[in-house]
């Protein structure tokens, strides 16, 4: 059984059909990068996986469980799916340490001391052990995104979703975040990454999906998609982004 099974996924916003039928399996341990022009539906596709957007039609299964925003088990299912956002979305009223401990304490009923210990280890792992007591608004963008990764990892998710995690960062901070993500990939985390970082996709992805017009227009290994794109839209898109 695949880690993620997506069948006939359609999503409408009002009358606007953003996803027009997506079928896709993601295996455990796989790193999938999703690329495509803005407005193509790639973020919506990612947000349907943990049901931040409820599919209009079709199903998303994670470990065989249907993700349904209105089902009573959705909170439990989301515990296993970490998500990173373009704008980090750290909780500004909580310290860095509290950002990382809040979910394990509230959801896994972990004791405060154990949660603190786990959180400090995770902060160490993303290189921010010294920032545990800082408030989020005192951090740089790159640091915020690394805290957000530690926060998601605290729930020990089996799957991580990244929604353009470096798009809001100053250029000099992109590397520190990609390094943490690369390390996660090497440790075998299942990852779906919506990104404009073609270098990262080429280097780290097991598979690249090119989404355009609400469908997966082309998919394959990075070598296939970047080296020898078959679809004309893929060729045009890559020509434009790689030129820049």
């Amino acid at each position: 059984m695949a880690k993620v099974e997506i069948r006939g996924l359609h999503k409408y916003f009002g009358k606007n059909e953003v996803l027009k039928g997506i079928d896709c399996d993601i295996e455990a341990g796989e790193v999938v990068c999703v690329i495509g022009p803005s407005g193509s539906g790639k973020s919506t596709f990612l947000r349907c996986i943990n049901c931040l957007e409820q599919p209009t039609a079709g199903t998303v299964r994670v470990d065989g469980n249907i993700m349904d925003a209105n089902a009573s088990n959705i909170d439990v299912l989301r515990e296993d799916v970490g998500m990173e956002f373009q704008h980090f979305n750290l909780f500004p009223h909580l310290s860095v340490l509290e950002n990382v401990t809040i979910a394990p304490v509230l959801r896994k009923k972990m004791g405060k001391e154990e949660a603190d210990q786990v959180a400090r280890q995770l902060l160490e792992r993303v290189g921010l052990a010294d920032k545990a007591d800082a408030m989020p608004n005192s951090l740089s963008g790159g640091q915020k995104q690394r805290v957000a990764i530690a926060r998601a990892l605290a729930m020990k998710p089996g799957l991580m979703l990244f929604d353009e995690p470096t798009s809001a960062l100053d250029p000099e901070m992109v590397g520190e975040v990609l390094d943490v993500m690369r390390q996660l990939a090497n440790e075998g985390m299942t990852m779906v990454v919506v990104t404009h970082e073609m270098g990262f996709a080429r280097q780290v992805a097991d598979r690249v999906l090119f989404v355009d017009g609400g469908v997966i227009a082309e998919e394959g290994t990075p070598e296939e998609v970047f080296g020898n794109p078959k679809n004309e839209r893929t060729q045009n898109f890559l020509r434009m982004v790689l030129q820049a």
């Binding site: 943990n50 931040l52 909170d75 439990v76 989301r78 515990e79 799916v81 970490g82 998500m83 956002f85 704008h87 979305n89 750290l90 909780f91 500004p92 009223h93 310290s95 809040i102 979910a103 509230l106 959801r107 800082a134 408030m135 608004n137 005192s138 957000a148 926060r151 998601a152 729930m155 979703l161």
Partner: protein, 222 residues
């Protein structure tokens, strides 16, 4: 009687009135804060019945004078139901409903001003809707609307003076009674004015301090 004799004679009574004013305002505001949060959450609920209850409540409070609300509760409701109610109880009910209505709109605005990404981040960690509201959204919303909340506190403290019409010997009423005996209108109203001013001004200063203390501008908690 010199001014200082008048002051010495009046102050104990005025302070007694002030204590009642603060009891009335404190109790009413404590209830109103809870009522305001609950009503705001009802107003933002997906349930149309809860939303209707909230908007009806807010409309009734906003579209009628506090004086009429007070009379309605103290004379109207008690008469219709054949129950007895102390003036203090009636005052607290009127003031908490009134302040609760306004606070509910203030809280609703504050909650809506919290970035949508906060909810998404909390829900994607597995937090339930309720945990997200109480642990993530409300603590930020209250910071956003703190200045407006304190504004409402000031208004409600002053609105206690309206409650004197049902015979509660709060600060304003005490002033009236002293004047009725002494005919020293100017001096006594001045004392009443100063007492209101000192208390409310102190609250606004304290709230500025609190605002700085809880602000999230990046300088940390202290």
């Amino acid at each position: 009687m010199s001014f200082f004799e008048l002051l010495r004679e009046s102050m104990p009574l005025l302070l007694q009135g002030l204590v009642l004013t603060l009891q009335l305002a404190g109790l009413s505001l404590a209830i109103a804060m809870v009522l305001g949060v609950v009503a705001a959450l009802m107003g933002l609920s997906n349930n149309p019945i809860l939303r209707f209850v909230n908007s009806a409540f807010v409309a009734i409070i906003r579209c009628s004078p506090l004086l009429v609300q007070t009379f309605f509760i103290y004379f109207g409701v008690t008469g219709a139901l054949g129950i007895r109610m102390s003036a203090f109880t009636a005052g607290v009910i009127a003031l908490s409903l009134n302040a609760g209505g306004y606070l509910s709109e203030i809280f609703r605005g504050g909650i809506q001003a919290v970035d949508r990404g906060q909810t998404e981040a909390a829900r994607s960690l597995g937090l339930s809707a309720r945990q997200t509201t109480w642990r993530i959204i409300l603590p930020q919303a209250i910071r956003i609307c703190l200045p407006s909340v304190v504004n409402q506190w000031c208004i409600t403290i002053k609105d206690t003076s309206i409650i004197c019409v049902i015979g509660l010997a709060e600060l304003t009423r005490m002033g009236q009674q002293i004047i009725a005996r002494t005919y020293r209108s100017f001096e006594v109203w001045l004392m009443v004015f100063v007492l209101y001013f000192v208390v409310i001004y102190a609250i606004t200063v304290a709230s500025r301090y609190l605002e700085r203390k809880v602000s999230l501008d990046g300088k940390g908690r202290d």
